[in-house]
């Protein structure tokens, strides 16, 4: 069976959820091999085998950490040239998309970014589902040239539990001589973001967001989020006002989220905000304006003041839990 390369999304060895989704897609196309950038001692092969990877290539070089994008693209091009995989699947992070971009030029291959699904088409081509225009349309796009490259958005599918049972996994260390040219953009300093003790926004299964309607007071939004075990997001208006960090902005120029539940509070529902949350399974809106466009998208909406509604909902859920109801 043909080999499919899957780039592992991980933080210090802890594999992020997208990786399981990518491996699940890869199994439909062939035999998945994981590509792991980082020190081998952080790697837990079982995390990858569980979702069907039969092999993992470990690539460890300071350049992958200290330089922007180009070294990883070079390494992947080397793997494509030497292993001749049938496709390369990459997480749709900012970095992932840029790595994919460079790889597509190096290998003269077609590229689809931000896919929500990947299958083998009737004609044998790699076929993707791709939401476009802020999620208002979904397109079917096939890749017709070279080694198909696809980046997949997080939360696109639910990987079956124990999909690959635990198949034996082969670990192979790959050394690629990274060129000096690829090291030209150097990361001279990196500041990790403070851990807020909440789920990662892009991967969260529940997101509670606040907008200009919070007036800058996110207490009710945060308390409701914590009650649901949710990530907190914000509209650009809230970010521009300095009320919330840009890393937590949902929308076209922020993070795209695809949770089971999205709660928009004090957010009007501008097209650029919707672009980042439209694919949410269930949408709840709390807004004092009954004509706010966000209600047109909501499965459930409350017309009212967000603070009183969210505080009451938090209390109600807490008390139901306390009484075991």
């Amino acid at each position: 069976m043909s080999e499919i390369l899957v780039v592992v999304d991980h933080i210090g060895g802890a594999v992020r959820k997208t990786t399981a989704e990518l491996l699940t897609c890869a199994r439909r196309l062939g035999e998945p091999s994981a590509v792991y950038f980082g020190a081998e001692d952080g790697l837990i092969p079982g995390q990858l085998a569980r979702y069907g990877a039969t092999k993992v290539y470990v690539l460890d070089d300071d350049a992958y950490r200290d330089c922007l994008v180009a070294p990883k693209a070079e390494a992947l091009a080397h793997l494509v040239a030497t292993r001749r995989p049938a496709a390369v699947l990459i997480p749709s992070t900012l970095e992932g998309k840029e790595v994919a971009a460079r790889l597509s030029i190096k290998t003269d291959s077609g590229l689809v970014t931000d896919a929500s699904d990947i299958v083998r088409g009737e004609d044998g081509a790699v076929e993707t589902a791709k939401p476009v225009f802020g999620g208002a349309f979904t397109t079917t796009v096939s890749i017709t040239k070279g080694t198909p490259i696809v980046t997949l958005k997080p939360n696109s599918l639910t990987p079956p539990e124990n999909a690959g049972a635990t198949v034996p996994i082969e670990v192979e260390t790959v050394d690629v001589a990274v060129s000096d040219a690829a090291k030209a953009a150097r990361i001279i300093r990196r500041e990790s973001r403070a851990d807020l003790g909440r789920p990662d926004l892009a991967h969260a299964s529940i997101v509670v967001s606040g907008g200009r309607g919070t007036g800058g007071d996110f207490d009710a939004v945060e308390a409701f989020a914590d009650c649901l075990g949710a990530a907190v997001g914000a509209s650009r208006a809230a970010v521009d006002a300095g009320w919330y960090p840009h890393a937590l902005q949902v929308g076209q120029t922020g993070v795209t989220v695809t949770p089971q539940l999205y709660v928009a509070s004090g957010i009007s529902g501008a097209i650029q905000h919707i672009a980042g949350m439209r694919s949410s399974r269930t949408v709840v809106a709390v807004n004092k304006d009954p004509d706010a466009p966000i209600f047109g998208l909501a499965d459930f909406g409350v017309v009212g003041d967000l603070t009183s509604v969210l505080v009451q909902a938090t209390t109600e859920i807490d008390s139901r839990r306390a009484s075991g109801a």
Binding site: E98, K106, L111, T138, G296, V302, G304, Q312
Partner: protein, 257 residues
């Protein structure tokens, strides 16, 4: 420091739709505009050259009407424009667009190629990285802040998990986000001056790359599209003092808590 700014002409955000004829973006009767996110790239280029010196050229690959995007750039203060127009370009993929742009910026000559973070129609966010790859120069992309000192450029980038400070020396490709600056509005003087600025029109053939662009050469093929069905049956309640309880009940009924 000579800067080439790549700008895209896009359909207005509210009017984005598909043509059932060839499954590409329907531009018929749709108002187009300079991509809002590319205004930040123009602004950054103007700031860099105002602080130092040099010339700003705006370049676009697009249909006849895309001349409007160049005109806007010139009104903001760019010095000249290059429009690469050709019917064969309709339906090109990102790789082909970057091929044409790379040839164009090479011919224009540059210290920095400046791009927006993403277009508002294709929205792939890949053309700047592709350009850097083709030109064989460093990429400093998705900058929320740019500092230029001598020949060295340093950016701040909000990556997926951290804030990174990245440095490279020119020539290079730089892209900026909507957080990098506040784009200026063209002044009356700027609008008048723009009328006298030079805009050159080139064809891909003149750049020596005609066969590699257009839908035939594309690496991807769109076979179908569908509008996302509108959400129906949404239930909207008015808060008469028990809105929070109703919300909690809904979440419980949906097994979301």
């Amino acid at each position: 420091m000579n800067i080439v700014v790549c700008v895209k002409y896009v359909p207005a955000t509210a009017d984005r739709r598909f043509s059932a004829v060839d499954i590409t973006v329907d531009r018929a009767g749709v108002e187009g505009t300079l991509c809002e996110l590319d205004e930040h790239a123009i602004e950054e280029a103007l700031r860099i050259t105002e602080a130092d010196e040099g010339e700003v050229t705006v370049v676009t690959v697009g249909p006849e009407e895309a001349a409007d995007a160049i005109a806007r750039g010139l009104q903001m203060g760019a010095h000249k424009g290059v429009h690469i127009v050709d019917d064969a370009l309709h339906g090109s993929d990102a790789a082909a667009t970057s091929l044409v742009l790379a040839a164009a910026v090479r011919r224009i000559g540059y210290d920095i190629v400046l791009c927006g973070m993403a277009s508002t129609d294709g929205a792939m966010g890949v053309v700047p990285a592709m350009l850097a790859e083709r030109l064989g120069v460093p990429q400093l992309t998705l900058a929320s802040q740019v500092t230029v000192e001598g020949g060295t450029v340093t950016i701040r980038r909000e990556s997926d998990t951290a804030t990174e400070h990245i440095e490279a020396s020119g020539p290079l490709v730089l892209s900026v986000t909507d957080r990098s600056n506040e784009p200026r509005y063209p002044s009356f003087k700027g609008i008048m001056a723009a009328k006298r600025k030079l805009v050159e029109t080139w064809s891909p053939a003149e750049l020596g790359i005609a066969p590699e662009v257009g839908p035939e050469a594309a690496g991807t093929r769109v076979s179908a599209f569908a509008a996302r069905p509108a959400r129906t049956g949404g239930q909207i309640v008015s808060d008469e003092g028990e809105g929070g309880v109703r919300l909690a009940e809904y979440l419980v009924a949906q097994k979301l808590v």
